[in-house]
Symmetry: C2
Subunit: 357 residues, 2 copies
């Protein structure tokens, strides 16, 4: 039986970069006889335009049935002023939550060819290779109750709730330890246990899970210190595991250390490694439609898809190698361009990867 891949191009540069990634995916499909069948639907603003909501029920149904999902990016100024309840981001949050994609893997990897693009000194970031494991379906993103109301004295107030249960923490901690085990066996759990009740439970449960991973060196760090250490000496980290909100902040900070967020893919996995794959960067509405966006993060998301949802290590490696070769050839989209390299557009970059594969 064929494997179903649902493709959600999304908004802004989404359709352009996904088109290139699909070329790579289809070539891999053929070359490695993966038996993938691709279908398409909308998420985010494009879904608002088509269905009136950022994630239609039928799309969610299709996503449930699919074996993996490839996503571009969502959001844009066109939908900034609509009812908050149907803003593009809501579609993204809903699909994560409804599919139980709790394990978000966000690598921050510095490509040697792009070392100059970082705003950090070369010696601080050379060889940087961090993996941030972010809890993606719990915490303050989804906690209830949450409300905006008017108090008796006429004043408005609003609040959110940050809850974590033992099982939510345990399963994401396991992802962190498992990842550390196949990397450099160092896991840093980030929390704010000196202030938050939820973080105290987080730390306790991570400690418990650690007993099953004596081969992994576990440390704990407060989130404020982690934000500092990422700037000061990022190479001290191997794998970082943290909650939804802290993971949002720290993974963006970490990705920017590489100076080339246009290169970074991500995976969001459920308990059985079914996953949604997307670039770390956003929908970049300012350059949408110009044919200049960098498709490499989305192409590398295809590599993650092959690796994590289908165990196709050979095909995944081949795509990563093809991307590296293209960089070696000196091809660069505008965001990663530097003196002496050849500036290319989205399609030319995609074609180059296809050729290298």
């Amino acid at each position: 039986m064929s494997k179903q891949i649902l493709v959600l191009p999304g908004d802004g540069i989404g359709p352009e970069i996904v088109a290139e990634a699909v070329k790579v995916l289809e070539l891999a499909n053929e070359k490695y006889q993966l038996g993938f069948a691709l279908s398409y639907d909308e998420l985010g603003g494009a879904a608002v335009d088509k269905y009136g909501v950022p994630l239609a029920d039928e799309t969610l149904e299709r996503a449930r049935k699919a074996d993996a999902i490839l996503l571009g990016a969502v959001g844009g100024p066109k939908w900034d002023t609509i009812d908050p309840a149907i803003r593009p981001e809501r579609g993204l949050l809903k699909i994560r939550s409804q599919l139980g994609l709790f394990g978000n893997l966000r690598p921050a990897l510095l490509y040697p060819q792009l070392a100059a693009a970082s705003s950090l000194k070369p010696e601080v970031v050379a060889g940087l290779d961090i993996l941030i494991v972010r809890e993606l379906t719990g915490g303050i993103y989804f906690g209830q109750p949450r409300e905006s109301k008017v108090l008796d004295n006429g004043e408005r107030m609003a609040y959110d709730t940050l809850p974590y249960s033992e099982s939510e923490i345990r399963r994401i901690a396991k992802v962190g330890f498992d990842m550390a085990r196949v990397r450099n066996r160092k896991l840093c759990s980030v929390d704010k246990a000196n202030v938050l009740a939820s973080s105290q439970l987080w730390r306790a449960v991570v400690e418990e899970v650690a007993r099953d991973y004596p081969d992994v060196e576990l440390s704990h760090m407060y989130v404020d210190n982690a934000a500092m250490q990422l700037v000061r000496a990022p190479k001290q980290f191997d794998v970082i595991v943290t909650d939804n909100m802290f993971g949002d902040i720290l993974s963006d900070e970490a990705s920017m250390l590489t100076g080339s967020i246009g290169m970074l893919p991500s995976a969001s996995l459920d308990a059985s490694n079914k996953g949604m794959y997307e670039p770390c960067h956003g929908s970049a509405p300012d350059i949408a439609g110009k044919g200049i966006a960098n498709p490499l993060a989305t192409i590398l998301s295809v590599s993650m898809l092959l690796r994590y949802s289908f165990g196709q290590v050979e095909a995944a490696n081949a795509i990563e190698q093809a991307v590296s070769n293209v960089l070696d050839q000196g091809l660069r989209t505008g965001d990663i361009w530097s003196e002496g390299c050849r500036k290319v557009g989205t399609v030319e970059m995609g074609d180059a990867v296809v050729a290298a594969l």
Copy 2:
């Protein structure tokens, strides 16, 4: 009548660095005839040892009566394993909250003499001068309810609450705008309004306050993007205003951009500019008692104390100038030392500032 200054040396390197700052404060007191009377008490671990709690009622009473407070730093491994309810940090949180010190000013300033210490490229950080205005007595740090409990199914869970009221947001927004007005008239409000109910209210109220400050250019940024932009191009910021948790994370990240967190002071102000002043760095237990800690952040906290709580601009400027002169002389503690400079200890550094004043 004399002005009362309460000095709380705290833990770790606190007593050493505060001793140097007090020398500077006493000299300024004499030279500018400020009429300050100093008294001393304990906070944090030192208070646990003396009173059994990290902030004794009598200390709080003294703090209430004082016109300003100078704090070293709190915390250390000695108290890491005691009952969480009386850990050193609890004393710090309680004094902030009980005195209504809602306005936390955290400058991130790069001293030209120390430009090499940053892990960022010189061109990215040269001339960096950001002020982070952090809400300090509300949000998830103090929100109720918060609880750790066992569910009916036997699973543990814990939660925190992130509340903000209109008046809490309005008063901190005003601090942000007021600060921007005397700086470069640019205020960036950081929130997560695409996810959090409290952030949506935050953004709405900041917009309302903005009407009274047409001369200040207001922008909004999501916290994940802010964490990225601080690494990518920190000089785009003038003043950042944000909530307690985001401010904790971003101010630490921003301070590390300068590479010399040992240089950065902070102020925590109430509605009438009564304040507590402390270095941004922690109690550094690993180097406590060795006489090598950098006292400059605490000395610069004295400058902030004179400026913000007493309007003593001349004395405040003189201290800043003295610190700058000492750096020009090539004196450096270990944390900011580089080739060609003279390494000095805590006392020698303090004496040099006193001499320069």
